[in-house]
């Protein structure tokens, strides 16, 4: 059984988490990435993206759904379970790229701005899952 059984479930859970990330101190990293970062999901099929906002905006990026209407800099394609395990800190990105569990398009070097900070972000996802009543998913996926 996949963690997210419908596109709506994935959008609610991961989308909600991304919404929360807009307000954390690492959100400014989107400016170093320098463009829209899109997550394309399979099983279930949906897409969510982080869209950078002007520095005067309330948060450094907004979360958008569906087919992009603006240019996308970086795309990460993966299935819902891989995404879930990734945000729990259980996916080695280097290995996942090599096994094509995660397919990246665009200048990967821009994503490097985020990678040193992932260890600070992973616990936020676990906390978030607790907050939304899915603590049972934290240990659930195979590491």
């Amino acid at each position: 059984m996949p963690i997210f059984d419908t596109p709506e479930a994935l959008e609610t859970i991961l989308g909600g988490f991304f919404e929360r990330l807009r307000f954390v101190e690492q959100a400014y990293l989107i400016y170093q990435i320098g463009g829209t970062m899109e997550f394309v999901f399979r099983k279930p099929d949906t897409r969510i993206r982080w869209v950078p906002q002007p520095k005067t905006a309330a948060t450094p990026f907004t979360v958008a759904y569906g087919v992009p209407t603006e240019p996308v800099l970086l795309t990460f394609e993966q299935d819902g379970d891989t995404a879930h395990r990734f945000w729990l800190g259980r996916v080695n990105l280097q290995q996942a790229l090599a096994r094509q569990q995660v397919v990246a398009r665009g200048p990967l070097s821009r994503a490097m701005k985020l990678i040193p900070h992932l260890d600070e972000i992973y616990p936020l996802y676990a906390h978030y899952l607790e907050d939304v009543g899915h603590a049972e998913w934290i240990g659930g996926a195979r590491s």
């Binding site: 790229l97 397919v103 990246a104 200048p107 990967l108 994503a111 490097m112 990678i115 040193p116």
Partner: protein, 384 residues
């Protein structure tokens, strides 16, 4: 333990930025580490790939992952090196304890790979600092600098009669290229193709010659590289800008294809070319390093129906403490050429020019030559 010191180093502040040659802080070597005062450092295509972001390593970074110099200081627990030793510096400090090290593939060492990707020592620290922030060395090396603190396992002593410039090439290009050929299925009398004749490809040619290949076909669009390929032992040099490389290889092999084809550029379409150039039952080996999200398309039917193998070689499967002395022995017996690989030498201040040449006019191996004057005196303050 001595204090930190100030050194000059060539830094890439961020991807696609100009190289900055500036003063940085280098900490004293800790347990299992040595401080090497560098005399020569190689300019490798991987350095260029970091600059363009195709090899995404953490920035700011001190470039350079092969070099040679003199040990100036050793940390606790280092027994095979002493201050004053002449050494070469390599870039995969195999830990000796992880699954890959224990199972005979130290080139895939988990700890060395993690350090290369993170830029940090296993405890999360760095020995380099710039503007009060961590500065990362390229693959635990960072040889485009007056000095480097590196894991002692990256360092192998060299004999007095081996010049520093030649020794520097042993750090990456020679181990990667010669190692790829020596560990390939190549048998004496085989025909091989080498696609891409830069620093690594030229050394694949040398390795294939040493291994006993009867016919070596070199493919490269640059005239200088084709000329060098013939000097290294190739028998035919194919210019893919003038003729279709696959047709040329087939014409030279009675339409059979080569026994072993090496790709030494890191371009998916050239990996596919190597696969196409291999004979039925033959092997194609990807040695060049593509960007981590690259994919390659090859004929699936050929795997089963033609028993073709497509495989890869990382750092030539080399383990510096084992292989560098063997390569030096081959050099001493004139079987391995080093001097003729060296094209241009640049001062540290000209590191940007060296990179420009690498990216626009690649040929042979270029070097950064560091003056061999003593490292500046220790400073009392840490974290400058």
């Amino acid at each position: 333990m001595s204090a930190s010191r100030l050194i000059r180093a060539a830094i890439l502040p961020d991807y696609d930025q100009p190289i900055e040659v500036t003063t940085v802080t280098l900490d004293a070597p800790q347990h299992g580490e040595v401080l090497v005062r560098l005399v020569a450092a190689g300019v490798c295509h991987s350095d260029g790939h970091v600059v363009t972001g195709h090899l995404p390593l953490p920035t700011p970074i001190v470039l350079g992952h092969e070099g040679a110099g003199v040990v100036e200081e050793v940390g606790m627990g280092v027994t095979h090196l002493r201050p004053g030793d002449r050494v070469m510096v390599s870039w995969i400090p195999a830990c000796g304890h992880c699954w890959w090290c224990v199972n005979g593939q130290p080139e895939l060492c988990e700890q060395a790979n993690t350090s290369a990707v993170s830029g940090e020592r296993p405890d999360g620290s760095t020995r380099l600092h710039w503007h009060n922030a961590p500065l990362y060395p390229f693959s635990s090396a960072g040889t485009w600098a007056e000095a480097a603190v590196v894991p002692a396992t990256s360092v192998v002593p060299i004999p007095d009669h081996l010049p520093y410039a030649e020794a520097a090439l042993l750090g990456c290009a020679v181990q990667t290229g010669v190692g790829a050929a020596l560990r390939s299925p190549l048998r004496p009398g085989d025909t091989v193709a080498v696609i891409g004749c830069g620093g690594v490809g030229l050394n694949i040619i040398q390795g294939a010659r040493i291994r006993g290949a009867s016919t070596i076909l070199a493919v490269d669009p640059a005239a200088e590289n084709r000329e060098l390929a013939l000097i290294m032992g190739a028998h035919h040099a194919i210019n893919p800008a003038q003729e279709d490389a696959l047709t040329a290889v087939l014409d030279l092999t009675d339409d059979r294809g080569v026994d072993v084809a090496f790709e030494a550029v890191g371009q998916p379409e050239l990996i596919a070319l190597a696969f196409a150039a291999a004979r039925r039952g033959g092997t194609a080996i990807a040695v060049g390093v593509p960007t981590p999200n690259a994919t390659v398309s090859v004929n699936a039917f050929a795997f089963a129906s033609q028993e073709k193998t497509l495989t890869g070689s990382w750092f030539g499967g080399s383990y510096a403490p084992r292989d560098v002395p063997r390569l030096i022995a081959l050099w001493e017996r004139q079987q391995l050429q080093l001097t003729s690989l060296i094209r241009r030498q640049y001062s540290l201040d000209a590191a940007g020019e060296a990179l420009y040449q690498l990216l626009h006019h690649p040929a042979g191996r270029n070097l950064i030559t560091l003056h061999s004057s003593p490292v500046p005196p220790d400073i009392s303050e840490k974290g400058a």
